[in-house]
Amino acid sequence: MSTAIAIENLSKKYIIGHQKRERYFALRDVLANGVKQFTHKLIHPFSAPENDPTHEEFWALKDINLDIMQGDRVGIIGRNGAGKSTLLKVLSRITEPSSGRITIKGRVASLLEVGTGFHPELTGRENIFLNGAILGMSKVEIKKKFDEIVAFAEVEKFLDTPVKRYSSGMYVRLSFAVAAHLEPEILIVDEVLAVGDAQFQKKCLGKMDEARREGRTILFVSHNMGVISQLCSTCVWLDKGEIRDIGQTGSVVNSYMLSGISDLSGEMTFPDDSGKIVQLKKISMLDREGNSAQKFDCDNPINIKFDIQVRRQLPGLYGYIGIFKPDGTQVLVSDSFDASTVNPLDSLPVGMNTFSVTVPPRTLGHGDYMIHFSMASPSADNFLVDVPGIVCGFSLDDFASKRGNQRAGFFSILLPWHKLEN
């Protein structure tokens, strides 16, 4: 087996402005700054140029060394901002590294987003060709695979309908179908499986498994430890731009999850990101009295309170909370459709909105847990609206029941026992 990807001393630096994530510079600021510096020079001709205090270097990737063998399936995990996406972007040549070197052997296809380049006005057929070309397929290749793609996506009847009239499910299926039929030697996939219904996700995983059996090299980023464990043999854990751990998926995922618990608090806030239409600003875990807490007992409710900043009204918006064990087992899922007949997140008014979700007493068993939060909407460009990922951690103790913390299993529900008359 030879090396498919060799990464040597790779670093990527960003210069960030302190006026929190301004998307653009204004020409006028640049001119004004230039004048300021010029006059400064006139007045103090011999002083060293001032360091611009409003800009700071930020190393998204720091000295990464990694060899990936042909046929390896490598999972990349890490907290938000750990550099996972930057690594994939550098590998896909979307952005250049600041230093270091990568040698890639074989054709690469990257799938960093579902439906990149899809145009809502164009029909399904037209979009297949467009998206295929964007992902690097030739026209001949797309023609050859066309029927297969359409069958995989199950959109035969709607081929000549503009995709803006597609349901979100169809849209996601079609876009994944195109990507799934790429035949690269190296496949780079960002968290794209998080969308779509369970059945389709299964199908996609099957397709990735097929790619694996065909001996392709796969690089896969996900927050879903279950998928990582299922799909990847090796795992890289990135932390603040550096490799913190690398090795067998099982052990890396475990230590990542365990670190998650100790690093996680019962509360998390997020800086403004004007690029997000709707954004989670703050999430906290509250006890019965409404105090922030991280330790709970099984006989009291666990309240998850969160503030959502809405910058533009978004129809179809829904929230999703997953509760995980440190080993990545998903114990409980709730989305905002659980609320009642109406989804309370649908078309929220612009501004700050506060919600609370309660895990009733005697639901989960004792132990450590993590909370994963995300929001999506079929009417958002990429379906996902805001995915902060693992946001909070908490622990549960069972004090009241006789078996207490010795109780095995996932639940702490006390089942009724009845003696029947005979």
Binding site: Y24, F25, S92, I102, G106, T116, L122, L130, A133, E185
Partner: protein, 275 residues
């Protein structure tokens, strides 16, 4: 699997295989142009007719203002033809410049998610405007038939002037596209340049109206050379090309293209980081 291509990614490395890549991605280039054309004519009710209505109405206004109100001379040519021969390259330039200038921003998602030589995006925007240009050309043919006006041999030099217009639009488009990614003011500058340019270019009038001693200075506007060339080729007769001015315009057009490509290439690698 030993015959696999080997790709090396390093800081500053893209420079080396850039032009080869551009060729490899030509299919994407066709497809983007095709997408833009398709989308344009799907979204508008009257579709293709837009490319006819806009220049036609502009021409009527110009003829009215410059010929009827200002009573400017027409060198013995029907004034509508005189105006339209200039309006064609001007509208091509203005559209291509606007579209190309905004092209990177409107394809921001694509740029931040997929690799391809970014030059493809503004180039395909210019191509789309070129299609509009060809369509509006029909009006000129119609006008010529209406006035019974036959062009002479010079019409065959038209492709040369079309390519100059092309180069001018591409060069200016590359500049604005690259600047637009980085500086947010540029999007406000684009419509201003287009509006302002219309008044300082000899669209509604012949550049012979400009006093002799100012003509070379006037030709610093590169579109003057392009428009004069179009008039010379289409209107024919006794219109003369003012050579010093034309050469100056031509030179400036080339300078804009070369510096445009240079600046675009220089800033291109940071597009995905700032867009």
């Amino acid at each position: 699997m030993d015959s696999q291509s080997v790709l090396v990614i390093e800081a500053g490395r893209t420079e080396r295989h850039y032009w080869k890549d551009l060729w490899r991605y030509r299919e994407l280039f066709y497809l983007l142009a095709w997408r833009d054309i398709l989308v344009r004519y799907k979204q508008t009710v009257i579709g293709l007719a837009w490319a006819l209505i806009r220049p036609f109405l502009t021409m009527i206004v110009f003829v009215f203002v410059f010929s009827k109100l200002a009573k400017l001379p027409s060198d013995g040519v029907p004034y509508p033809i005189l105006v339209f021969a200039a309006l064609l390259p001007w509208q091509f330039f203005a559209n291509a410049f606007t579209e190309a200038g905004n092209s990177l921003i409107s394809n921001a998602k694509l740029i931040s998610k997929v690799y391809f030589p970014r030059l493809v995006v503004p180039a395909s925007a210019v191509i789309v405007s070129f299609l509009d240009f060809l369509i509006s050309g029909i009006i000129l043919v119609g006008l010529m038939l209406w006035y019974g006006f036959a062009p002479d041999w010079r019409i065959f030099t038209l492709p040369l002037f079309i390519s100059i217009a092309f180069v001018a639009a591409m060069g200016a488009g590359l500049w604005t596209a690259a600047l637009n990614v980085k500086y947010q003011d540029v999007r406000y500058i684009i419509p201003f340049v287009v509006q302002f340019g219309l008044y300082v270019s000899p669209v509604g009038f012949s550049s012979t109206n400009v006093p002799e001693q100012w003509r070379l200075l006037y030709s610093i506007n590169p579109m003057v050379g392009v428009i004069d060339g179009f008039r010379w080729a289409i209107v024919g007769g006794n219109t003369q090309l003012y050579w010093p001015g034309f050469l100056l315009s031509l030179f400036l057009v080339l300078v804009i293209l070369v510096t445009g490509i240079y600046y675009f290439r220089k800033t291109e690698k940071s597009f995905a980081d700032v867009i």
